[in-house]
Amino acid sequence: MIKKTVTELCAALASGETTSEALTRAYLDRIAEHNGALNAYITVCEDSAMAQAREADAQRAAGSTAPLLGIPIAHKDLFCTQGVLTTSGSKILHNFVSPYDATVVERMQAAGAVMLGKTNMDEFAMGSSNESSYYGAARNPWDLKKVPGGSSGGSAAAVAADLCAMATGTDTGGSIRQPAAFCGVTGLKPSYGRVSRWGMIAYASSLDQAGPLCKSAEDAALLLNVMAGVDNKDSTSIDLPAEDFSAKLNDSLDGLRVGLPKQYFTSELNPSIAAIIKTAVGELEALGATVVEIDLPNSELALSAYYVIAPAEASTNLSRFDGVRYGYRCEGPKDLEDLYKRSRSEGFGEEVKRRIMIGTYALSAGFYDAYYRKAQKIRRLVKDDYARAFEQVDVIIGPTTPSPAFGLASIKDSVTMYLEDIYTIALNLAGLPGMSVPAGYVDGLPIGMQIVASDFAEAKLLNVAHQFQRVTDWHTHKPALTANKEA
């Protein structure tokens, strides 16, 4: 039962085939069995999950038809959850119990979801491997010696290993799509402004966006239905007419125009991955899609611009972690400056400190024009590239990552790590929606196909992904976890 999709579980619960209590118990048991090896969860909420499950069953008996009633979910640990430890993967929040719920959490709860716990992540969502977590790296269920990707690595690993039915993640430069690709699950980064950021611990405000990690495109549509919508607590959330993202899943792809960016299919791309994506695109062609090569001339500038803008915003977003009001405070500060210096030096990890330094530098007097302002100009160019491309095509397809999941501790330098996000980062700069869906294997490790649509065209994205999943079964494959456990 725990291997089923959310869509299937909803049917099973509705028909009485199972109960939320039984389901929740089953996931908790599986977490107990495998989380030691996977380290996907930072916090497991056993008692409250069971209580919520019983409540969901009671509500169902009372006639409730909430869309996710009784479905067990895991939240990335940067969503604030009332009364539950919320760490953002950092030591500096090792003791932070949030007094309020993020809007995403609140909406999931209102939809009847049962919260199993909080998932592991790179510290403050800064990373592509989950290795920057203060709580230890999460592992890839397909190979415990590999990283699950990041920053939403815990969520991706939990979904892949069936330690939950569905999970939330956030994506600032690829943090939903890249771990989804590495762990062989379906991940959706919505358009900027589609989902409220209230209660999401900020990394880079103008890039951060929450989305689902789950077992199918069909599930992603269900989850987006719950997560999406304007929120008067987030001024950057966008007020659009309500939309049912499940409604167009089965639209025909006949006449769909698919763009393949020539910049993505170069000699630098692993040829096995290139072949997998070409085969996947072939499936779409068989469904009636036409394929054209497109030009994204500024795509190679995106990474550099991102590594100015994101750290700049992060450097000030993280100023509030000062040891004064909550979170980690150093022992026996001798004065205010000492309190600040040591609380932050001891509380933040290396990668976070590195990005604070980069961002502080980029915003400094005398450097602002050369870095921050120039990066914003590039951002505009990147956005324009996509706008032009979408005049020609409906979706853009490419690999999610340049390689399959890499080994734990195998990447030592930051720049190599940053290059992991080469295909995902431009979307955040442009604010566009993107998905990663499983499309094959290289060396026994899952490979993701990235599908990109124009602003607020998530329905199109989900339509294409679902049709692809109707004719392929990559998304239904499961890692052989037991064997790995021995490894």
């Binding site: 929040l93 949030s98 950021r197 001024s235 602002y368």
Partner: protein, 475 residues
């Protein structure tokens, strides 16, 4: 060498919104520490700002009142620095695109002439909390009630040439803000704060001298004193061959001096950049016109009307319109009594003296406009003389009954019965035979003394004009 003083003022005015600039917390003054600070004000992770539209409307209202350009696309920026009473580690302010651009206001100089002072800009920003250093024995307490309260920072051009001009500008600004009802603007409570940029230069020189910024000035009186002190200090420094260092100085009212806030000048780099959690404020013409339609009559227009409609002098009109409450009070008295001149005198002199003496706000006065008008009506219909009216005025402070009831109860009604007055006059002539004779001998000015005696005998209640006539007849 003769020097010219150059002053520019930065005024921080707390906007009187019910809630904060970016959160729903209340903004009342004097609440228990940290009772008006919610999760956003505490900068809990994941919280986001939501702009208070009323603050924007107030800023625009101010802009229109000083004839300023309204920024149709204004942008909030983060100003980054660490301090315990700044929970987010940055203050949200406006750097390049303020809501209010260039405007002007006019001040009246001592010689009665008008001078136009330029306002460079007025931008919105959030206030910080307060650090409390007393009562915590080597630690500091943090009160975040004030954190996030909306401020309008109004920056003047360096157009002011003396401490007196600075005070006149500040008072005019204060008056306009009170008329607009956008701030309590109480200096002592910090809802109207002033920093002064002061420099001097030899007369005739066009470049500005090096300026210092004086902070912590919390009354109009101290503005004048602090600037005068600073001008003297800079002048002495230059005359002694030294030079002025650009720095921030703190005014100490107890010692009446300014002193350097830091030993060495630290160049702060605030790393301003556009606040990504907020969208730019877009203000359209419709919004601006709706606010323009709500603008009250402002002090200059009102003074002109007082001069035109009521025949007041420029000076009297200027005094009365300085505060909106006082001008409203005056207008009520003038209308109800039908005598604007008497109303102006009573309001600007007797009433003002009463308020000054007791340190009362106008609203605290036991004599409100209606009763004062009633008193003036009794002067006009000769029920009491102007002099007795002052006694009635005194009595009204402790007696809440009507003016007529007080006059009746205290027996202060003017005596106009000629029979009674004649008896009084006969008595005075009998008591003062020498003076009576002097009058008869042609020394007519002695009549004043005799009238005075009659008034004294009547305890002031006799009608002096009638007494005068009867005396002349009898002598």
């Amino acid at each position: 060498m003769e020097f010219e003083t150059v002053i520019g003022l930065e005024v921080h005015c707390q906007l009187a919104t019910e809630s904060k600039l970016f959160s729903g917390s209340a903004t009342q003054f004097g609440a228990e520490p940290n009772t008006q600070a919610n999760i956003f004000d505490l900068a809990l992770p994941g919280t986001l700002p939501v702009l208070n539209e009323k603050a924007v409307a107030m800023a625009v209202k101010f802009g229109l009142a000083i004839g300023a350009e309204i920024g149709k696309h204004s942008v909030f920026d983060r100003k980054n620095y660490f301090y315990p009473d700044l929970p987010k580690g940055y203050q949200v302010s406006q750097l390049d695109y303020p809501t209010v651009g260039k405007g002007t206001l006019s001040i009246t100089l001592d010689d009665g002439s008008e001078k136009i002072i330029g306002v460079t800009r007025a931008h919105m920003e959030e206030d910080a909390g307060k650090s409390l250093h007393e009562d915590y024995q080597g630690m500091s307490g943090i009160d975040l009630n004030r954190a996030g309260t909306p401020l309008l920072e109004i920056v003047s051009e360096p157009d002011l040439r003396s401490a007196k001009e600075a005070v006149a500008y500040l008072k005019k600004l204060h008056s306009i803000i009170r008329y607009l009802d956008i701030s309590d603007a109480i200096m002592a409570q910090g809802s109207f704060r002033c920093d002064a940029n002061v420099s001097i230069r030899p007369v005739g020189q066009t470049e500005f001298g090096t300026r210092t910024e004086i902070k912590n000035i919390n009354s109009f009186k101290f503005v004048e004193k602090a600037i005068n002190y600073e001008v003297r200090r800079q002048q002495e420094l230059i005359e002694d061959g030294g030079r002025v260092v650009q720095e921030t100085r703190l005014y100490d009212a107890d010692k009446d001096e300014t002193r350097s806030m830091r030993s060495k000048e630290v160049a702060n780099d605030y790393r301003y950049f556009p606040e990504p959690d907020l969208l730019p404020i877009v203000i359209d013409d419709e919004f601006i016109e709706a606010i323009r339609a709500q603008l009250p009559e402002l002090p200059d227009a009102r003074a002109a009307r007082f001069v035109g409609d009521f025949g007041l002098s420029d000076y009297d009109a200027g005094v009365l319109v300085a505060s909106r409450e006082m001008a409203d009070f005056f207008e009520t008295v003038a209308q109800r009594s039908g005598d604007a001149k008497l109303a102006a005198n009573w309001v600007s002199q007797d009433l003002q003296a009463l308020l000054n003496k007791n340190n009362w706000e106008l609203s605290e006065s036991p004599i409100q406009a209606e009763r004062l008008a009633d008193l003036i009506l009794r002067i006009k219909d000769d029920t009491v003389s102007g002099k007795i009216a002052k006694t009635v005025f005194e009595a009204m402070l402790s007696d809440e009954s009507s003016v007529d009831a007080i006059i009746e109860a205290k027996g202060l009604k003017q005596v106009t019965d000629s029979g009674a007055l004649e008896g009084l006059v006969d008595q005075v002539i009998a008591d003062n035979p020498d003076q009576a004779q002097q009058y008869r001998d042609g020394k007519v000015q002695v009549i004043g003394f005799l009238v005075g005696q009659c008034m004294k005998l009547s305890q002031g209640k006799a009608n002096p004009a009638q007494i005068n006539e009867i005396l002349r007849n009898k002598l």
